[in-house]
C-alpha cells in the first residue's frame, strides 16, 4: 500500500475508501478535482471519438465507480494554452473553485514548441508551472503535477521528444524533493514503438493528441494516483557512460538517474544488469531520486555490452521494470543472435535466461529486452528459433 503524497483530503478519501470497502457499505466521500491544462486535458472531439470528456470525464466515472459517488472532475482544459497564459487563467479558475480538494496541472506541450524554436527557456516553463501550483496552494488546495505526454513519431515538431523530455526531466527533479506529487502520463505512453502511438494517439494528427483509448489510459493513471495506488515502477530519467563511443572497455563507468513518485524506490533491488546478470551497483540518494553508478572491470568484458537498469519500488506487489538503456560493442567482437548474456557463446545459459521471459510482452514484469532477439516487443518462438539456430556457436 503506497503512502499517498497527495493531500490531506485524499488521504481522508483513501482511508474512507478502505474503511467502506471493508465494511461493504457505499462510499459517500466528497472529492472535488479540477483538471487544468491545454487541449490534451480539454479532450474535445474529434480526438475523443467516444465524446466522454477527455481524461477528466473518464476520471470522474472511474472515481464514482470506485465508491466515491460524489466525485466531480471539472474539465478546465483550454486548447493551445502555454504555461505563461495558464498562469493568468488559473486565477479565475481558482476563484471559482475554492472548495476544490485537488488541482491536476498538465501543461507545457505548447511551450515545447516555443523552446524548440529557441524563443523561451525551459527554466521559465518550469517556473510558470511552479507559479501556478503556488497560486493553488495559497488557497490550501493540493496540486498533482502531471508530465505531458510524449509526441508521436509523426508530430511536426520535436518528434524525437528531445525537448519534451527536458520538461519531463525538469518536472521530475522539481517533484523529487518536498511534498509535491507527480503523475507520469509521459512514462505510461513513452515507448518509442509505433504500435503504441497508433493505439493511443489520434491518427495522423500532426500535433499528437490522444484518442479515446489514450484518454482512457490517462484517466486510469490519474485515478490510481488519486486513489493512492501505485502500479508504475520507478522511471529511468537518464543514463550516461563516462567515455563516449560505442565500445565497452575496462574502467568505463555507467551512471543512471532514477525517479519515483509512488511508494518509493527499493534501493537494494534497483541496479544495473550487464548482459542479463545483475552487477554490484553503487546506489545513492533518496527513495524518490536515486543515482546508480558502476565501474566496468575486465571480467565484465566478453562479446557485447547490453546494459539495463532494473528498478523496483516498495509497493506490494512491487512494480519492477528492467529497461534496456544501452548496447555497446566490444572492439573486435561480434554478438550472436541468441547470445543473451553476451559471453560470446550461445548455449544453455542463454536458453536459461530466455526461459523465464518466454511468452512475455513489453510491459510484463518478466519481459526482457535481452531475450527479445528480434526486438518485436515479445519474447516468443521466433526469438527461441534465433537462439536455436546459433546454439553451440561461438563468436570466434
Amino acid at each position: 500500500m503506497r503512502v499517498p503524497l497527495l493531500t490531506r483530503g485524499l488521504i481522508g478519501v483513501s482511508c474512507l475508501l478502505a474503511f467502506f470497502t471493508i465494511v461493504g457499505s457505499s462510499l459517500q466521500a466528497q472529492e472535488n478535482i479540477v483538471a487544468f491544462g491545454d487541449s490534451i486535458t480539454e479532450g474535445l472531439p474529434p480526438f475523443d471519438e467516444d465524446r466522454k470528456g477527455g481524461y477528466p470525464g473518464r476520471l470522474q466515472t472511474i472515481l464514482r465507480s470506485s465508491g466515491i459517488s460524489s466525485a466531480t472532475v471539472l474539465n478546465e482544459g483550454h486548447g493551445s494554452e502555454t504555461t505563461s497564459e495558464g498562469l493568468t487563467r488559473i486565477n479565475s479558475v481558482i476563484s471559482a473553485n475554492k472548495a476544490a480538494d485537488l488541482f491536476i496541472i498538465m501543461e507545457g506541450t505548447n511551450d515545447v514548441n516555443l523552446v524548440n524554436s529557441g524563443l523561451l527557456s525551459m527554466d521559465t516553463v518550469l517556473a510558470n508551472l511552479e507559479g501556478m501550483a503556488g497560486k493553488v496552494r495559497s488557497e490550501a488546495i493540493d496540486v498533482l503535477y502531471a508530465t505531458i505526454i510524449p509526441r508521436p513519431p509523426w508530430a511536426k515538431q520535436d518528434s524525437t521528444n528531445f525537448v519534451t523530455f527536458e520538461l519531463i526531466f525538469g518536472l521530475r527533479e522539481l517533484t523529487s524533493t518536498g511534498r509535491r506529487d507527480l503523475a507520469e502520463p509521459y512514462e505510461i505512453l513513452e515507448n518509442r514503438e509505433l504500435a503504441v502511438y497508433k493505439k493511443y494517439y489520434f491518427k495522423k494528427d500532426p500535433v499528437g493528441h490522444p484518442n479515446s483509448a489514450g484518454f482512457a489510459l490517462l484517466a486510469e493513471h490519474f485515478a490510481e494516483k488519486v486513489l493512492g495506488e501505485d502500479t508504475l515502477a520507478p522511471v529511468v530519467s537518464g543514463f550516461s557512460k563516462n567515455r563516449s563511443g560505442q565500445f565497452l572497455a575496462n574502467g568505463d563507468q555507467f551512471f543512471a538517474l532514477v525517479h519515483e513518485s509512488g511508494t518509493g524506490i527499493a534501493k537494494v533491488d534497483s541496479y544495473f544488469t550487464l548482459n542479463g546478470r545483475s552487477i554490484d551497483t553503487d546506489v545513492e540518494g533518496t527513495t524518490r531520486r536515486t543515482s546508480l553508478s558502476y565501474r566496468v572491470t575486465n571480467s565484465d568484458i566478453a562479446c557485447g555490452g547490453r546494459i539495463t537498469v532494473r528498478t523496483e519500488d516498495r509497493a506490494n506487489p512491487a512494480n519492477v521494470r528492467n529497461r534496456l538503456v544501452a548496447e555497446y560493442k566490444v572492439e573486435g567482437a561480434q554478438l550472436l543472435k541468441g547470445d543473451v548474456n553476451g559471453d560470446c557463446r550461445v548455449n544453455g545459459f542463454d536458453l536459461g535466461l530466455l526461459g523465464p521471459s518466454f511468452g512475455s510482452k513489453r510491459g510484463d514484469v518478466n519481459y526482457s529486452e535481452l531475450a527479445d532477439a528480434n526486438n518485436d516487443d515479445s519474447v516468443d518462438g521466433d526469438d527461441l528459433a534465433k537462439l536455436a539456430r546459433n546454439f553451440g556457436k561461438s563468436s570466434d
Binding site: T82, L114, S121, M122
Partner: protein, 342 residues
C-alpha cells in the same frame, strides 16, 4: 464508417491547427521594418510569399523545414528558418526576388547539435548579417552572428554567454548608426533576465543586463530601431502574471521599464510601418490580441483590442484614420476602432 473516419480525420487536421501553437498551421510573417506589404505564409514543410503586388511565390521546403522570419532588402526578400532533422536543428535561408527563389548557404561551422532562432539583419538595400542561437543542447545555447559580405558569410562569432543557463528569445535590429543591437533572455540560475550586446563594426560588446537581477522571469524580447535609438518590448512576471514592459535605448543606456499591457500580456512584437511603431501582443485571459501605436519614448498613443481567440499571431493589414485591421492566417481580417490612450 469509412466516411465517418475520413470526416473525423479532416476535422482533426482542421481543429488541431487551432489547438496548439506553431505545430502545423500557417503563420503569417511580415518584415518588422522596410515592409512594402509582403507577407510570408509559413508552416512546417510549406511556405509561400504573398508579394506586395498580390502574386504568390511558392517556396520549396523539405518536410522538416519551417520558415520563421522575413526581411525585405533592396528589391527582394530574405527568409530564414529551421530544419529539424531528428535531434539536430539547422538553419535554412532563402533569397527571393521577383524572378527567382534561391537557397542560401548558412554560415559555416555548425558543430553543435542546435542552431535556432535565426534573426536577419538587413538595411534598405542589402542583407548585412545574421544572428542565431547555437549550442549542444537546448539549455546551453549562446548567441552567434555572422556578417554577410560579398555574397558569402564571415566566420561565425560567438557572444560569450553572460550566464551559465539557457539563452533564448533572440531579437536584433540595425541602429541608425549602422551598429547592431542584439537582445535576448538568459537564465541566471534563478530566472530569465534580458541582456543585450552591440556589434559595432567588428567589435562585439560583452553582454550586459537590460533588466535588473529581479528574481522574476523576463522573457521573449522584441527590439526595433526607432529614431536614433531603439525600443524594446518584453514580458516580465509581475505579481504572478506576465505584463509587457517597454524600455528605450538611446545609443548608450536604457530608460526605466514602462509597464504596457494588462496582467497576462505576452508575446510582444514591435514593427515599423509608415514611420509608425506598433506593438502587437496577446492577452492571456480572456483571450484576445491588442495592437498599440507607440510614441518615440515607447508610450502608447492609441490602442485597439480584438477579441479573437486564435493562437496565431496576427499581422497589421491596414491602419488608417480611426480604425486598424488585423489579419490572421486562414481567417477573415478583423477591424477595430483605435482608442486614444490618455
Amino acid at each position: 464508417m469509412v466516411v465517418r473516419t475520413v470526416i473525423l480525420s479532416l476535422l482533426a487536421l482542421l481543429i488541431s491547427d487551432h489547438l496548439m501553437a506553431g505545430a502545423s498551421e500557417y503563420q503569417l510573417i511580415q518584415p518588422t521594418r522596410n515592409n512594402s506589404g509582403a507577407v510570408l505564409h509559413s508552416k512546417t514543410g510549406r511556405a509561400h510569399l504573398e508579394t506586395p503586388g498580390g502574386s504568390r511565390k511558392s517556396l520549396a521546403l523539405r518536410r522538416d523545414e519551417r520558415l520563421t522570419t522575413l526581411a525585405e532588402v533592396g528589391s527582394g526578400w530574405i527568409t530564414a528558418g529551421i530544419r529539424e532533422k531528428s535531434s539536430r536543428r539547422e538553419l535554412v535561408l532563402m533569397s527571393i526576388s521577383n524572378s527567382r527563389v534561391d537557397r542560401l548557404d548558412s554560415p559555416a561551422g555548425q558543430s553543435a547539435r542546435y542552431r535556432l532562432n535565426p534573426t536577419l539583419l538587413g538595411n534598405d538595400s542589402r542583407l548585412e548579417g545574421l544572428a542565431w542561437l547555437e549550442g549542444p543542447d537546448i539549455k546551453s545555447l549562446s548567441v552567434r552572428l555572422a556578417f554577410f559580405q560579398e555574397s558569402s558569410w564571415s566566420n561565425p562569432v560567438e557572444v560569450p554567454r553572460p550566464t551559465k543557463g539557457s539563452q533564448s528569445g533572440l531579437s536584433a535590429t540595425l541602429l541608425a548608426d549602422g551598429s547592431w543591437l542584439l537582445v535576448w533572455a538568459a537564465f541566471d540560475g534563478t530566472d530569465d533576465d534580458i541582456f543585450y550586446s552591440q556589434v559595432i563594426g567588428d567589435l562585439v560588446t560583452r553582454a550586459r543586463r537590460v533588466t535588473a537581477n529581479n528574481r522574476v522571469p523576463d522573457v521573449m524580447p522584441s527590439i526595433l530601431a526607432s529614431d536614433s535609438g531603439a525600443l524594446l518590448a518584453w514580458s516580465q512576471l509581475e505579481d504572478g502574471d506576465y505584463r509587457i514592459k517597454i524600455s528605450r535605448f538611446d545609443g548608450s543606456a536604457w530608460s526605466g521599464a514602462r509597464t504596457h499591457g494588462p496582467p497576462g500580456s505576452l508575446r510582444a512584437q514591435l514593427s515599423l510601418q509608415d514611420n509608425q511603431v506598433s506593438l502587437v501582443y496577446r492577452e492571456a485571459w480572456p483571450r484576445s490580441w491588442t495592437v498599440s501605436e507607440l510614441g518615440l519614448s515607447g508610450r502608447a498613443q492609441r490602442r485597439a483590442n480584438f477579441a479573437v481567440a486564435s493562437d496565431d499571431r496576427p499581422i497589421i493589414a491596414q491602419s488608417s484614420g480611426g480604425t486598424v485591421v488585423l489579419r490572421w492566417a486562414g481567417a477573415q481580417p478583423s477591424e477595430a476602432a483605435w482608442k486614444s490612450v490618455p
